[in-house]
């Protein structure tokens, strides 16, 4: 009995951690838009949001089923369809953006994920990345086959990386203190506080964790 109660409590706490369980559809779409914009402007690949994407897609499916039952004369039907298209645009744009980063930074992304506890790639993305890497390596092997044993591994040690110092625009969702700004002159760093609601142009490196945590969002 006690154990059962514990389990139930644990489940509830788990659900609490997983914020999207309590989301209304409107909040879900809002969240989807936020991760889309963040992914668009972050130089690196952000942690995947598979659950959000799946939830949004199932909302769309449910809506599509609903729409089919409506008579075509109903003027509301057009709005339902257009909203579906609008949301679909956000989801596809988000996933395209991620694929683009995965392809560009493939070695980097796979290596980082190996060394990290939490995977940034979804399972499907990881499969895609591995296949892409394999195809790329094969192509390069083929291009250097004219002389086996050449030192052509330079590209693997100098693999393409995102520029983490890229400048980004952001908006603070809550008060944030002590963001380190690297002035590019050795130890001469500056510390900045950002008030909730204010907007900044700043180097991504110092704020990447806060964006992943959700204290800041890119704009």
């Amino acid at each position: 009995m006690d154990e059962d109660t514990d389990d139930i409590l644990n489940n509830i706490i788990d659900d609490d951690d997983d914020a999207n369980i309590q989301m209304t559809p409107a909040e879900l779409i809002q969240k989807m838009e936020e991760i889309w914009i963040n992914e668009k402007f972050a130089p690196e690949l952000l942690p995947h949001e598979q659950e959000i994407v799946d939830l949004v897609l199932s909302q769309i499916s449910a809506m599509e089923d609903n729409v089919e039952t409506l008579p075509s004369a109903d003027f509301k039907k057009g709005f339902y369809q257009l909203e579906i298209d609008r949301i679909r645009f956000v989801v596809t744009s988000y996933l395209r953006q991620r694929l683009e980063k995965i392809e560009t930074y493939v070695l980097h992304v796979l290596k980082e994920d190996e060394e990290r506890e939490e995977a940034y790639l979804s399972e499907a993305e990881q499969q895609f990345a591995l296949k892409y890497k394999e195809a790329l390596e094969e192509h390069f092997d083929n291009a250097t086959m004219f002389y086996p044993g050449l030192p052509f591994e330079d590209w693997k040690s100098n693999f393409v990386r995102p520029n983490m110092n890229s400048f980004v625009f952001l908006k603070a969702k809550s008060n944030v203190e002590g963001v380190v700004v690297d002035r590019g002159q050795g130890d001469d760093n500056e510390i900045v506080d950002i008030k909730a609601g204010s907007q900044m142009l700043i180097s991504y490196k110092g704020v990447s964790d806060l964006i992943k945590k959700g204290d800041l969002r890119l704009i």
């Binding site: 994407v53 799946d54 897609l57 199932s58 499916s61 057009g78 369809q81 257009l82 298209d85 609008r86 679909r88 645009f89 989801v91 596809t92 744009s93 996933l95 395209r96 694929l99 392809e103 499907a124 993305e125 499969q127 895609f128 296949k131 892409y132 195809a135 790329l136 094969e138 192509h139 390069f140 083929n142 291009a143 250097t144 004219f146 002389y147 050449l150 030192p151 052509f152 330079d154 590209w155």
Partner: protein, 197 residues
């Protein structure tokens, strides 16, 4: 100077940033020959180097270093050539779909054709796996939608187009149609239809 041919290869890339000229087999094989020669010479001199250093006090090290730098440079150019062509090839996959237009195909090496089909199939597999509902086509919905229907003009004699509702219409050159946006987005991108605003 070493690496001049490789430089020509990169200049060719630079001139054709958004297109794929014929795979330059000829120039590549000249670069291959330069690399082979550099490697052979370094092999020979590396063997001499050990002995002559003791006997004649002649060092081959600077020569070896220079040739080695040249080998690395040539390889960098060869790989950059292949890499940047692949980037173009991927764009073609997104824009034309999974079937290579014959004019494009004629300009590719066999390895590039192989890469294209591998890329294409892993992309398809990825897209089919999105969501629980048979997948999502990521090659459409490229722009924010404004309305369900759009006005299009047909640019070429395309022939019959079947719509998802089962109806069909004939796309003749210069004919105008009022169509669901989702049904003609790909045809617009392929240059068959033109969006009239």
């Amino acid at each position: 100077m070493f690496g001049e041919k490789a430089y020509l290869l990169i200049k060719e890339l630079d001139r054709n940033r958004d297109s794929l000229p014929p795979y330059n087999t000829e120039l590549l094989s000249e670069i291959h020959n330069e690399v082979k020669q550099l490697v052979t010479e370094n092999q020979e001199d590396a063997n001499v180097s050990e002995q002559s250093r003791l006997v004649e006090n002649v060092s081959y090290v600077p020569t070896l270093k220079i040739r080695h730098a040249a080998i690395k440079r040539n390889i960098r150019c060869i790989l950059a050539y292949h890499y940047n062509r692949l980037k173009c090839l991927k764009t073609i996959r997104w824009q034309f779909g999974s079937i290579l237009p014959p004019e494009v195909k004629a300009n590719l090496s066999q390895a590039e054709i192989d890469f294209f089909s591998k890329y294409s199939s892993s992309l398809m597999q990825y897209m089919r796996g999105i969501g629980d509902d048979g997948g999502v086509n990521l090659a459409v919905n490229l722009k924010p939608p404004k309305s369900l229907y759009i006005e299009v003009r047909c640019v070429v004699d395309y022939g019959q187009l079947e719509l998802t509702d089962g109806s069909a219409l004939l796309l003749k050159k210069n004919s105008r149609h009022h169509l669901p946006r989702t049904e003609c987005e790909e045809l617009i991108r392929q240059g068959v239809l033109e969006h009239v605003v």
